[in-house]
């Protein structure tokens, strides 16, 4: 069988070693001592096998900022990072607020073929927050959009958010809110706290995130809709979401890798690679989101991969763009913050980095168990590896990573998209 692989001695979800046979796009066999039968054998002794990772929140910058990233380069970076599916946010230029643009992005993803690219549709036209975008048309398009978000901007108008939450019920869609009360965060540069006070940088208070989430979960409960909260970053946000879930409100939430690891103390260096929205928060917030991810209050890790051209970060803080790339370092950072600290095991990582995200995005073939008959979306991870992050070796077009020169654990070694090898050892295939 050509194009098939026998993964010998892998540890699915970190469990006991076994063999996995990937053929014809599915897991053809799972068990000890499988017969290779013409498949390419990969000696995977000691490697952990996870379902291919699913990212609910990525910026691929195309159309509009192809100097920073394209669908091709971004999805290649995703494959190298162990992802088999990514959701591409709508804040492109033009904005992805019509069937035409989302179909273009979807088509570019298919052509590149490195991972499944699922375009996210904007909630409002031009992200301006004034009128609903044609959500139905985007849902019906070839891109089959199910996740809608004005990410980059907050849907701050309460009526607009209510309408959006209600409207997407018709096609099992979900609104993913970038929670940031705009009036409380005008020209905000970093987390509001002792560090911002000392550095003379305008603060982005936690309450600006929490107040929107509080309003939105209540709205979602009232109208009976699904709600997804993007990049949760504060302890208060975690508490509100925990409360809402306890009330039976259908809310899900994501957290970025950097919010699991980095604090606002680092900003004392004024290094613009640390400038991100929502901002890096306090140590207490980091602790709270870690616990939230561990106990499932936060459903998944989403990278918020945000590529930026060199000149947008090689400047003073106030002039720098917000965001950091993250597809290629996500697994390492999560391993450092969650597995290394004992908060999650590899089964937990599989759940938080693939299973739940696939469910939220309604991706039938992703985040599936590593069992016979399931689509062969698999990533092999060297859990014991420790490697220095080398910006020059990154596959993304952009280099704005705060981890440059630092050591991260857990390297993705091979990624399979429906049984096809898409990436191996840091490069696409």
């Amino acid at each position: 069988m050509s194009g098939s692989f026998l993964l010998r001695g892998v540890r699915p979800l970190g469990g006991e070693p076994t063999d996995l046979l990937l053929a014809d796009g599915v897991v053809a066999g799972a068990g000890p001592d499988l017969d290779a039968a013409g498949a390419e054998v990969i000696e995977a002794g000691g490697l952990v096998a996870l379902p291919g990772l699913v990212d609910l929140h990525t910026h691929l910058r195309e159309p509009g900022r192809e100097d920073a990233e394209t669908v091709r380069s971004g999805s290649a970076a995703a494959a190298v990072g162990g992802f088999t599916a990514v959701h591409a946010m709508a804040n492109t230029d033009p904005v992805a607020d019509t069937a035409g643009v989302v179909e273009q992005v979807w088509h570019l993803g298919r052509t590149a073929g490195y991972c499944d690219v699922h375009p996210v549709g904007a909630v409002t036209v031009g992200l301006a927050g004034r009128e609903l975008a044609e959500l139905g048309a985007m849902a019906d398009s070839a891109a089959r959009v199910r996740v809608f978000s004005d990410d980059g901007r907050c849907v701050s108008d309460a009526v607009m958010m209510r309408r959006a939450l209600e409207y997407v019920k018709a096609f099992d869609g979900v609104v993913a809110q970038h929670a940031q009360e705009p009036r409380l965060t005008e020209d905000a540069q970093m987390n509001e706290g002792p560090v911002s006070g000392a550095l003379g940088l305008r603060g982005w208070p936690a309450v600006a995130e929490e107040a929107i989430i509080a309003r939105d979960v209540l709205l979602a409960g009232h109208v009976g809709s699904r709600l997804h909260v993007c990049h949760v970053s504060t302890a208060g946000s975690v508490e509100i979401i925990r409360w809402a879930k306890g009330k039976g409100i259908d809310v899900t939430a994501e957290v970025t890798p950097h919010h699991l690891l980095l604090t606002d103390e680092l900003v004392r260096s004024y290094d613009p690679r640390l400038k991100v929205n929502p901002p890096l928060r306090s140590a207490d917030d980091v602790e709270a989101v870690r616990r939230g991810l561990a106990d499932g209050t936060i459903d998944c890790v989403a990278t918020d991969h945000a590529p930026h051209a060199v000149e947008d970060k090689d400047c003073e803080w106030a002039s720098a763009a917000f965001g950091m790339i993250g597809l290629e370092t996500a697994l390492g950072v999560v391993a450092e913050a969650m597995v290394g600290t004992g908060l999650l095991d590899w089964a937990g990582v599989a759940d938080r980095m693939a299973v739940r995200a696939a469910r939220i995005g309604r991706l039938a073939g992703q985040g599936r168990p590593l069992a016979a008959g399931e689509p062969a979306n698999v990533v092999l991870v060297d859990a014991d590896a420790r490697a220095v992050v080398d910006p020059a070796a990154l596959v993304s077009r952009s280099r704005n990573t705060p981890y440059a020169g630092t050591v991260l654990p857990a390297r993705p070694v091979a990624t399979f998209l429906r049984g096809r090898l898409t990436a191996r050892d840091g490069a696409v295939v």
Binding site: E192, P194, G200, L201, P205, Y270, D314, C315, W317
Partner: protein
């Protein structure tokens, strides 16, 4: 050893006293027929001002020229279009011209840090005011002025009043005065005190009258009327009434207490004309002292083979030659 002066916190107590003592001596140059010393001859000091500030720029220019340095003035207004390109490309140009020191004033907090650590230039970076972050030479000239009138600042009570949230002068002064052992009290309406100010090495109060009792020095900060439009305080009238220094309030100060202001003043808002022009006011003297203090900073950073700041002071006997 520190090659840059980016924050008042960069200076140890010994460093700060060295700057002030050196400034004491250099102040005498102003009274000489030849107001020049040859010490920085052949050095180039660039004034890189992204914000208008005639007063500070002239002060640094006078300081550098009195030390015989060559001065290049670069006035660049950062526009939203050119963004950060302006700082980097400007810095690379200055390096090509061989700047030994760059005195930078910029509207963005942290811009001097970026310049100092970017690798774009090799010279010393002196922060002449960055956004709402710091203005270390202002704090030094304020401390110098206070010392001239009050003697040692150890245990002295200094009250700083005004828009602390947006004030780089306040931040630098709190840090430097704490280093020099003074007791600082910040007075402002709650809206103009930053989150986390309780962790600063000073006290805070919302009550100006209480904070004036026993103060050795009162420093009034400029408050901008635009803050009123952003609802930091309701009206100029209410601000003056609650946080302005007028003659009645000044009369409650001890005999020897001095009144200071970094300038430019809003006469009638945070300080009345009567107070500004009273014998207690050392505001004009602060400006004069700025030159001496900046001469001291330039000399200590550039005058020798390496910076004289940021080292443990060991008394070294200099053998006569």
């Amino acid at each position: 050893m520190i090659t840059h002066l980016l924050s008042a916190a960069d200076l140890t107590r010994d460093d700060a006293l060295l700057v002030l003592d050196t400034a004491d001596e250099l102040a005498l140059v102003a009274d000489r027929p030849v107001k020049k010393l040859p010490t920085l001859r052949g050095r180039t000091v660039v004034n890189l001002f992204f914000e208008d500030s005639t007063r500070t720029r002239i002060s640094f220019e006078a300081a550098a020229k009195r030390l015989s340095a060559d001065v290049i003035n670069f006035s660049a207004k950062g526009s939203s279009v050119s963004k950060g390109e302006t700082l980097k490309d400007t810095a690379l140009t200055l390096e090509a011209m061989g700047a030994d020191a760059v005195v930078i004033r910029h509207g963005a907090s942290g811009a001097p840090h970026t310049l100092a650590h970017s690798g774009w230039i090799n010279g010393s970076v002196i922060n002449a005011g960055d956004g709402t972050h710091e203005h270390p030479t202002q704090a030094l000239l304020d401390a110098f002025t206070m010392r001239r009138h009050l003697g040692s600042l150890e245990g002295r009570r200094v009250t700083i009043v005004g828009d602390v949230l947006h004030s780089r002068v306040a931040r630098s002064n709190v840090l430097l005065l704490a280093t020099l052992g003074a007791e600082v009290t910040l007075v402002a309406p709650p809206t103009l005190l930053p989150v986390g100010v309780e962790q600063w090495p000073c006290a805070q109060s919302y009550d100006l009258d209480g904070a004036l009792v026993g103060a050795d020095a009162v420093m009034m900060l400029r408050v901008q009327l635009e803050r009123m439009n952003a609802a930091f305080f309701p009206s100029a009238r209410e601000y003056s009434r609650r946080y302005g220094l007028d003659a009645d309030r000044m009369a409650t100060l001890p005999e020897h207490a001095i009144v200071m202001h970094p300038g430019p003043m809003n006469r009638g808002l945070e300080i009345t004309a009567q107070v500004a022009d009273s014998p207690r006011s050392v505001i004009v003297e602060q400006v004069t002292n700025g030159v001496s203090v900046r001469m001291a900073v330039l000399y200590l950073l550039l005058g020798g083979s390496a910076s004289a700041l940021g080292q443990a002071t060991d008394a070294v006997e200099d053998v006569a030659s």
